[in-house]
Symmetry: C2
Subunit: 703 residues, 2 copies
């Protein structure tokens, strides 16, 4: 009776009309509805065994206990030794086990052994990762019989970059304000910090930089180090190291030094001492993340020094410690006659080989700035003596922010899977990043976080999938977009087979759909000024020419696109010959990158059989049509999705449709002024004028 | 058996270890733990009866059903007619009932009749208010036997002012970003809008202005009116009218008019049409809220016109409709030789009698700017021909933001209860506001909202009590601070009698404690520049002299305080003779206002027996000591408070202690430079220098 009641209780909890507010992310642990399935799992999850008192192991055991109790609707005991009991889970940190010999770093093995399931790793955090993997298996309805998993991370540092400001705002954040409550720290620990740590550990993220790369010096004061320490203490048992973004001018700002010149002995001393001080608060401090001489931020060039001088000074300060220095390559001078595409490459190429071994140069996936589609950054593969890290943007600055459904795994994958050919065929970007091509000792994949103070963390319910996908790919970039989506859907939305398939299809279609109504055929950087919301292809004046739209699309009476094959810019030359050959030839160039590299005549016939103008129109119109398809498909899912989540996505898809039409109308009407060609016959021309669309854009520029 | 199980289910739900995240505010409806008490209430709450299909009545019935089901742990049915059944609740809108004859506006009566409880009002929203009152009785453990309540609102417009910006930030918001998700509107309705509406209706708030008074014109575009309409549609059934803060320059900004001169026919036409357009979206539009010619905002004075010209133009546009125009009196010119204290009064006094009857002039409670303690604004009582509304600040810009525990009802009450003497003794500020002194047809009390996107809405758990208290006082300012606190504690934290008493005591002590370590003896406006966080009494340079600290405290070698009795400023003269006599005489002046009106010599002996310097030090030190008392008292409550809430307050009290010491040290060390007197012997001098404290303040000025 007691047992029955408890099950009843759990059933009630789970089946009661509680709306899902999204706060639990993909770690919901709701009762599995199928009793048979539940009973089957229960055979393997009778108890959890560990004799360790290590904080990380305790977190693993706690997670398994809470997870299985929720999923199975029954109590799960924690014991120190299994003795002759079977049907439980044993957590084990060991160098010796048979299965761990194939393990690297924080990899883990899960296997059946004498009636129990062993989670084994050489490290405590590896066991934690294994625990989450086991939970994932159950959350997504997979069998535990004869389980046998070996999993190793392909990238060593799997990191979130928070662009969170000291004042509580988030640069390019679309989910409320900062999740870090600096005013409450160090004395109040928001329970959300723990939820955040669990979510990250569940996907293998092991590093986080807690403040904006446009950095405030205040994060280096004792006042703030005490606060950061409190955060680090929460994250530590989950295997997450804290990094700080630093302002290069800090020695002047904080201590009144006359210079921040990296070759100045006093400045070097200052950083040595500051680094020591930080370690008094955070002994396992991850290191520094630096944006220098970029978009107005201070840096070594202010003193006639190089990026290497700046980075190496910090590396020297870090020498006594395990931490590292991550130096961003996102730099570009305001040269109206140059090509922003090339600037990071050209500034850093002469420094290849000059960076300290503690330095990782962090490079954005593409050469411009997180556009919905970019060719990979030509630095990848071209730097044989420097460890390059990947910087993806999870937050959807240019990808629909919190209102458009856009699943980003295909975008991350497109970059990682592209062959650089630097060591012949098979030299994919991923292999540059994981260090295998140039035998780097370290490796890094960073994602600019999309987390905020909103109840559901990420704004659009599907934005959570991008956080999830980033982490999974940083762990193992060979996972497919489909598999990752399937995991996420099962853990977050539903395990109904048909619904899952439908949702996965929506997710896979979402990025091409978004690109179609915003930046088809390799167009880029035409968004609303400043806020980067909505279309503004006519933007011709800004603080810098390379912040306008016309700089990038180069529309004129002849055609459209940025010729990077030689005449206007020779940026294409930065790639390997194989790519120059394919991308450099407008006949062979992948249409997705066409206008990235070529200025194409409006009347030029493309491989699709349409001329450029018609193809452009078809794509913009098709993008809008596809949003309606997404809407229709979403409607079919109502019975399977929590009501609040269903409505949230439903409402956002309506906004997406409206704004897709906005993008389409803005772009076809604007480019028509150059092409002077009619909208193809089978398409209905926009029912408003370009002036009317421009007016709409202006609204978003009003204070 | 069935029944038993359901009760069991509800018990589990309620008693399970769910942490309280504060999102439900004071409308938790958790199961009453005492079975006897529950059974007793259940006798009165067997069913809810209404035959009305009015949306507001349905909300009332839905709230009662959900509320009682939660509180009693049993199903409550809704029926159309009670017939001979007894033990239920009957909702009734009627002009005829015996009890309603004493009802005004949206007042309500609750009474026992033939075995049922009747909630009766002349209006639907009155019934909704009655429903919340009945729920409150149960939530706070009061008896329903022979219930007999008659309650009328003393103020007609009970309003929240949101200082929320279009970009999602909140000016002076300390609980995340804006709760209005403009990017998601009109198609996605955040369920929080409904929770917000319920919370407001439960305390009688019936109006809300949805955007910052530093207003963006974009709220008047069709694009945004559609969004605002969606919000208005959600709030309407809860009796809440929507107002929009307008930018006076909108005709120029939005339609390219050459001027926004309120006497220009084209401009008047523009506002007429815009107002008509708004009503097409929101037929029951509340009206405009205007900040004009204040702190850089545009206004009629830009064209040589008066505030009355500006307000009356909008009133004219509003003539065909029920809405009104609320015009803020918070104006002050940058006159270094003037006294900001007097400016609102002096600018508006000549306009008394010139405002259209549709205009309410909204005046801040005090003459400067929401300081922790201000004498009431001298406009109150001095304007016989103008309807003046009260503007309180619920958000704690100067009152500890989200980290200091400060219950504001005593501050609101202090202002409302002060006698203006304008019609002899008994002419309290409250009677100016409720319209009884000058027979105004309308009345308004507005509170600047403290709501944000944070899960718990308000940041500090106790900040919720200030939203609650504001609403309750706007409904009935005669309620005591103690009663309001008791209600809120019972609904939010605990109904344990001893704990309740202890918490109430903490709340009552909190404001005097805060004032003691920040602004004792009538000091004001010495906070950190810009962010208004922490102390900065030494601030001597700013964009304007009246934004500095030294402008207000006037510390010199002789003494401290702003002489407003004649020599420096004759601001005191703006009050009635009775007040001039008491406040104007430093011997008789309430010590709380002493330095508001007098420059007092450091060595001057006060009524306490101490000289000014010693008294100042005693108060600063006592403030810190009192924080420790609050901490100790909070510790005793652990068993009675949800664990997460307990820890949140515990952590924040630690921050409060640290910052109280910061305020104390900053102020005594700084003023000591003028007094040249020692810290009194029985006090321990600060263990740091003024320079060290200044350094701390500087951190908060770093980007």
């Amino acid at each position: 009776m007691q047992k029955k009641l408890i099950i009843l209780f759990f059933s009630f909890i789970s089946l009661a009309a509680f709306a899902d507010d999204g706060s639990r992310l993909w770690l919901k642990y709701d009762l599995i509805k199928d009793v048979k399935q539940r009973e089957n799992y229960a055979k393997f999850t009778k108890f959890i065994t560990t004799s360790s008192t290590n904080a990380t192991i305790l977190k693993a055991s706690e997670e398994l206990k809470n997870g299985f109790e929720g999923l199975m609707g029954k109590k799960v005991s924690t014991i120190k030794k299994a003795d002759s009991q079977v049907g439980g889970i044993i957590l084990e940190v060991s160098e010796k086990q048979i299965f761990t010999k194939n393990l690297a770093n924080d990899g883990f093995a899960i296997f059946s052994n004498k009636g129990n399931i062993i989670i084994s790793s050489k490290t405590e955090v590896g066991v934690l990762y294994g625990a989450f993997e086991l939970l994932r298996k159950v959350q997504t309805g997979q069998s535990l019989s004869n389980i046998s998993v070996i999993s190793n991370p392909k990238i060593k540092i799997r990191m979130l970059n928070h662009w969170d400001n000291a004042n509580g705002t988030v640069e390019r954040g679309y989910a409320g304000s900062s999740m870090w409550k600096w005013n409450e720290l160090p004395f109040r620990i928001d329970p959300r910090y723990i939820a955040y740590a669990r979510a990250n550990a569940s996907i293998g993220i092991n590093a986080t930089s807690i403040n904006n790369v446009n950095a405030s010096s205040r994060f280096l004061t004792a006042e703030y180090l005490e606060k950061i320490k409190a955060v680090a203490d929460v994250l530590r048992p989950y295997g997450i190291k804290v990094f700080i973004s630093v302002n290069f001018r800090s020695p002047r700002t904080l201590s009144g030094l006359k210079t921040s010149d990296p070759l100045d002995p006093e400045v070097r001393q200052w950083w040595n001492e500051k680094t020591k001080e930080i370690h008094q608060y955070i002994p396992d401090f991850g290191g520094y993340l630096v944006k220098a001489n970029s978009e107005g931020e201070p840096g070594p060039q202010d003193y006639g020094r190089t990026h290497a001088d700046g980075a190496n000074m910090l590396a020297e300060a870090m020498k006594p410690f395990a931490g590292i220095v991550i130096w961003r390559a996102f730099v570009y001078n305001a040269d109206p006659n140059g090509d922003r595409f090339k600037e990071g490459y050209e500034q850093f190429k002469p420094l290849d080989g000059k960076f300290d071994s503690k330095v990782i140069v962090q490079v954005k996936n593409g050469p411009i700035d997180f556009m919905p589609r970019e060719p990979f950054h030509p630095m990848f593969g071209a730097f044989s003596k420097t460890t390059l890290g990947m910087e993806f943007q999870i937050t959807q600055e240019y990808l629909g922010q919190s209102t458009h459904l856009t699943y980003l795994a295909p975008m991350f994958k497109e970059c990682l899977d592209t062959d650089t050919y630097v060591k012949g065929k098979g030299s994919e970007v991923a292999k540059v990043i994981d260090g295998s091509i140039y035998n780097n000792q370290n490796s890094l994949m960073a994602g600019v976080a999309n987390t905020g103070s909103d109840v559901n963390w990420c704004g659009h319910p599907f934005n959570q999938s991008n956080w999830y996908a980033f982490g999974r790919l940083a762990w193992d970039y060979s996972l497919s977009s489909e598999q990752i989506a399937n995991e996420w859907i099962g853990m977050t939305l539903t395990n109904d087979v048909v619904a899952k398939k439908q949702i996965n299809s929506i997710m896979q279609k979402s990025l091409p759909t978004y690109i179609s109504y915003t930046y088809p055929l390799g167009l880029h950087h035409m968004m609303g000024e400043g806020h980067h919301y909505g279309p503004e292809p006519w933007l011709s004046k800004s603080g810098r020419l390379d912040w306008t739209s016309i700089y990038y699309h180069r529309a004129d009476s002849i055609g459209l696109g940025f010729d990077r094959t030689g005449k206007l810019s020779n940026a294409l030359k930065l790639y390997s010959n194989e790519l120059i050959e394919s991308w450099g030839n407008p006949e062979k160039c992948n249409l997705n990158y066409l206008l990235w590299f070529h200025h194409i005549a409006w009347s030029k016939k493309l491989s699709t059989g349409n001329n450029l103008w018609d193809e452009l129109c078809f794509r913009y119109y098709d993008g809008v049509k596809q949003v309606k398809v997404l809407q229709d498909e979403w409607e079919t899912l109502k019975a399977h999705i929590d009501f609040e989540t269903f409505q949230s996505v439903q409402g956002r898809l309506k906004i997406q449709e409206k704004e897709a039409i906005w993008w389409r109308d803005a772009c076809v009407l604007y480019f028509q002024e150059y092409s002077k060609m009619p909208i193809p016959k089978n398409l209905t021309p926009p029912n408003r004028s370009l002036e009317e669309v421009k007016k709409l854009v202006e609204i978003y520029h009003l204070r």
